[in-house]
């Protein structure tokens, strides 16, 4: 009887891993304005997973390979005349997801699979899923520790990065690949919507709290882990969908911080004005 035999304990470990991973990767996603792309990836890896399940190969492998295909398609179509990145992303999103649905609808057990895929079930993660998530987390964090500085430079100042002789195309691809791997690792266990919430939410909240770059990563990771743990706790306590309650916590924290900073900004401006009047 090991500690990991309990479903709740496994869910807690997965929540911590995904919360930290999502928070750190999210800083890059928010800085590069990739939330919609992330959303599209979560939907578009679906047919890959279905095909992998039909062929009996590894689900992560199928989702990952298909995701790469989608990345290539978005980049290719987004360059067309009169088209743009956001339109191409929308098309990849709906097209990829529809392909998955058509493939699934030809099978039996249609509705159950699909709902699990959309909202996920973190209480159903096995030890194998935990190992996969942990491996991805370690790999992604190592990569970010190695080239994080270059990636951020390319995010904020692409021209400057190119002038410094950095391989910007390679860096872009590396970033998209990191996002893709994160999505592929988290979606089977957590569902498409929750994956987006955990990647974008903590980073966007951290961005509200600080203007400096270095604290963004620990703040985002802490918010991610905190929300994930709170969500698992609430869902086991009151029997609501786990993924959704985690996403709800992320949203509540973001909303509270948004209102808080808005009020703080207004108070500061009022104080500054009064000081100016007195002077």
């Amino acid at each position: 009887m090991s500690w990991l035999d309990s479903t709740v304990h496994r869910a807690l470990v997965e929540a911590v891993l995904v919360g930290a991973l999502g928070g750190v990767v999210g800083v890059f996603v928010v800085a590069r304005r990739l939330p919609f792309f992330t959303m599209a990836l979560t939907h578009a890896t679906f047919p890959g997973i279905v095909i992998a399940a039909l062929l009996g190969v590894n689900l992560y492998l199928g989702g990952g390979l298909f995701g790469l295909l989608v990345v290539a398609a978005v980049l290719a179509f987004g360059r067309g005349r009169g088209q743009d990145f956001s339109t191409a992303t929308g098309i990849a999103l709906s097209g990829g997801f529809a392909l998955g649905v058509v493939l699934v609808s030809a099978q039996d057990g249609f509705t159950k699979d699909l709902a699990a895929y959309t909202v996920g079930d973190v209480l159903a993660v096995g030890t194998g899923d935990l190992v996969a998530t942990a491996a991805v987390a370690v790999g992604v964090l190592l990569l970010l520790a190695l080239v994080g500085k270059e990636l951020l430079l390319a995010a904020f100042d692409p021209v400057g990065a190119a002038a410094l002789g950095l391989p910007t195309v390679l860096l872009d691809f590396a970033l998209l690949a990191v996002v893709e791997v994160t999505v592929v690792a988290t979606v089977p266990a957590l569902g498409t919507i929750l994956a987006v919430a955990l990647i974008v939410g903590p980073a966007a909240t951290a961005r509200l709290l600080t203007d400096r770059l270095a604290p963004l990563f620990p703040i985002a990771a802490a918010i991610g882990v905190g929300c994930a743990l709170a969500g698992v706790w609430v869902s086991t306590r009151w029997n609501v969908a786990t993924g959704a309650s985690i996403a709800l916590f992320v949203g509540l924290v973001f909303g509270a911080v948004f209102l808080g900073t808005a009020v703080r900004g207004r108070v500061r401006r009022a104080v500054a004005r009064r000081v100016a009047v007195r002077a």
Partner: protein
């Protein structure tokens, strides 16, 4: 005739009317979605009407769905317009937060009910084959209202799309105009979501306009072309899904088949546009060579 025969069944005929109406409606609104790059906004709206659908259903049964969705759609449109006016949060981060949070509210409420998975699936993919005449009437009314609204406001809307600074200088109230367009997209989503599901709505809003844009550079051509692409993809998708299930015993979800037909049309339009430009270029080049010689 393979292309007309399925529609002698009343439920197939109703599905066809619904999809053609929605194709035309979404094609028109989709051109503005394309010009303003609102693909993510549309995606967000498709997900955020979900809690409205769920709560409306809980409070008033089937009749409450439309009004619940409408309320949620309008609330989202207002929140969206407000959130994106603050500079600290980038627009797409704000959208992602709205999308996931409101969708999560819906899922939490649904997960307390029984029949959880089948409700969620119906919402994601709709049940186009069970469209009722009341829903058809609702869709028709929404189509007329939205198209009339866009026709009246077309000048300021286009000015805002191409030159926001110029529009502001010309005295156009940009914030209000953005709200109107967001509400129009929300109306399309509300009209369509019960019948065809979220994924098909986003496809209908994004793909036909993008395909039409690939074929032409002129707005007068793009709008009717987008309507045509949307409507004919609905028709073709229904035919394919019907033939596959009746003729070959392969069940294909009808909504998703329509999306795949749309994407295929987009691919063809992309190739056609590419060829057309290549031909135009080489013709221009040979004309220059001739005039030089």
């Amino acid at each position: 005739m393979m292309f007309f025969e399925p529609f002698q069944l009343p439920f197939m005929a109703r599905a066809l009317v619904e999809l053609v109406l929605l194709g035309a409606l979404a094609g028109t609104v989709g051109v503005l979605v394309l010009l303003r790059r609102l693909a993510f906004v549309s995606d967000t709206l498709t997900h955020t009407v979900f809690p409205g659908v769920v709560i409306g259903h809980l409070m008033a049964g089937d009749g409450g769905i439309f009004w619940g969705a409408l309320a949620a759609g309008v609330v989202t449109a207002v929140l969206l317009t407000l959130l994106t006016h603050r500079r600290r949060v980038s627009e797409d981060a704000a959208l992602a937060m709205l999308l996931t949070t409101l969708f999560a509210v819906g899922v939490v409420v649904v997960s307390r009910q029984t029949g959880f998975t089948s409700d969620l699936t119906a919402f994601l993919f709709g049940r186009v084959l069970t469209v009722t005449e009341t829903q058809l009437a609702q869709t028709a009314v929404v189509t007329v209202v939205v198209v009339a609204l866009l026709a009246v406001l077309r000048r300021p809307l286009l000015l805002r799309a191409f030159d926001p600074e110029g529009a502001r200088a010309a005295g156009v109230r940009v914030g209000l105009l953005d709200l109107v367009l967001n509400v129009a997209v929300a109306l399309v989503v509300v009209a369509a979501v019960k019948a065809v599901g979220t994924i098909l709505v986003i496809a209908l809003l994004v793909v036909p306009a993008a395909a039409a844009r690939g074929l032409s550079d002129r707005l007068v051509v793009i709008v009717p072309l987008a309507c045509l692409v949307g409507a004919s993809a609905g028709w073709l998708g229904l035919v394919v899904s019907y033939e596959a299930s009746v003729g070959y015993g392969v069940r294909l979800a009808s909504g998703a088949t329509v999306v795949l037909v749309l994407v295929a049309m987009y691919g063809l339009a992309h190739v056609a546009g590419f060829v057309r430009r290549k031909v135009g270029l080489s013709r221009a080049r040979s004309a220059i060579v001739e005039s030089a010689a």
